[in-house]
């Protein structure tokens, strides 16, 4: 046996071992593996940065980005939702005319926990910790409903009723789902997270303090 033959065996053996392991379902039993085997990546971008430049780039997408999941979501919500998904966006993804009637793929409890564990490792450096405090304040409500009319495109609870628009994600329970730090970063640096979208850019329109108040208000809706 010469040197190049040994090299070949060193490659073949581990690959064979890997195939055997895979067929027993051993190395698939982690969140990243489940994400790949269920083809979640066919609809969700899992690696940053955002690359969309045109309307078409956005309209080609089949689902929201997940490459900053760890900064955006609260882990308990993620675990629960992946097992029992509910509708977040009232209209079909990328549509402004059709009601969202899609059934999102669901995972078993064990799979959901593992995928959540994996998604929570995907963070964005642009989201700093401790920027905004989760709090419903009269100021926050005033900014959201009157001053900037976020409610024109997003629904929230008003007492027992829900009010607002439907083109943006439902924010009536955003506090279970989103972190205040991410909402603040999303308003402050929209290009990092979502360069092409139907929501207006509010940079230099809403001041920094107001953005923090709004982020806190959104992330306290339950």
């Amino acid at each position: 046996m010469n040197a190049s033959n040994i090299g070949r065996w060193m490659l073949v053996l581990p690959v064979t071992a890997l195939f055997i392991a895979l067929s027993w379902g051993v190395s698939l039993a982690d969140g990243k593996g489940i994400f790949a085997s269920k083809n979640c990546g066919s609809c969700h971008q899992i690696q940053g940065p955002a690359a969309e430049k045109t309307f078409d780039d956005q309209l080609k997408k089949k689902g929201p980005e997940l490459w900053y999941s760890g900064s955006k979501f609260k882990k308990e919500w993620l675990e629960e939702w992946l097992e029992k998904p509910t509708t977040i966006r009232p209209l079909k993804y990328n549509s402004v005319t059709d009601k969202n009637t899609d059934k999102h793929p669901a995972l078993s409890k064990k799979e959901a926990d593992e995928v959540a564990e994996y998604l929570m490792t995907l963070t964005a450096k642009e989201v700093a910790k401790g920027t905004a405090e989760e709090k419903v304040t009269p100021q926050g409500k005033n900014l959201f409903i009157k001053r900037y009319s976020c409610v024109g495109c997003h629904s929230i609870k008003a007492g027992a009723q829900k009010v607002g628009g439907v083109s943006g994600p439902d924010l009536s329970e955003a506090g279970k789902r989103l972190t205040a730090d991410w909402v603040y970063a999303y308003l402050k640096e929209p290009k990092v997270f979502k360069p092409v979208k139907r929501m207006p850019v509010f940079v230099d329109i809403i001041n920094d303090n107001e953005m923090k108040t709004l982020a806190g208000f959104v992330a306290a809706q339950k």
Binding site: K53, Y148, S167
Partner: protein, 130 residues
Amino acid sequence: MITKIFLITVFSIGTIAFTGKGAAFAVSAEENYKFYCTQCHGSDGKGEGANSKPKVVGIDLPEMSVTPRNHTNPEDMNKLTDTDIESAISGGGAAVSKSTIMPPWGKTLTEAEIKDLTAYLRKLCKCKGK
């Protein structure tokens, strides 16, 4: 021969660079309207987009408290000058003493795009304004 090849090469690189740039940035007023405005003003500009009347798309939420302007109505649109329209698009309802439910697009669209949209609205209402 060599000069000929040289000229062809320069010419084609020039053409690719030129069309490339045009294609990447050219968005017509109609495309902007469809992407940003129809969610409230409706696909036909009559003010009945999904946000304005969620029940029309089968979602059980109350109507918007202020109806988005019907851009095809010459009577309403004739009350506005082109400058009024540009201010409303750029600064939102707040800039023209109207409802803030009309959002500000001045940091989303360029000035040129806002001018083009204004001209597009004039086509929708088939009116010139005051």
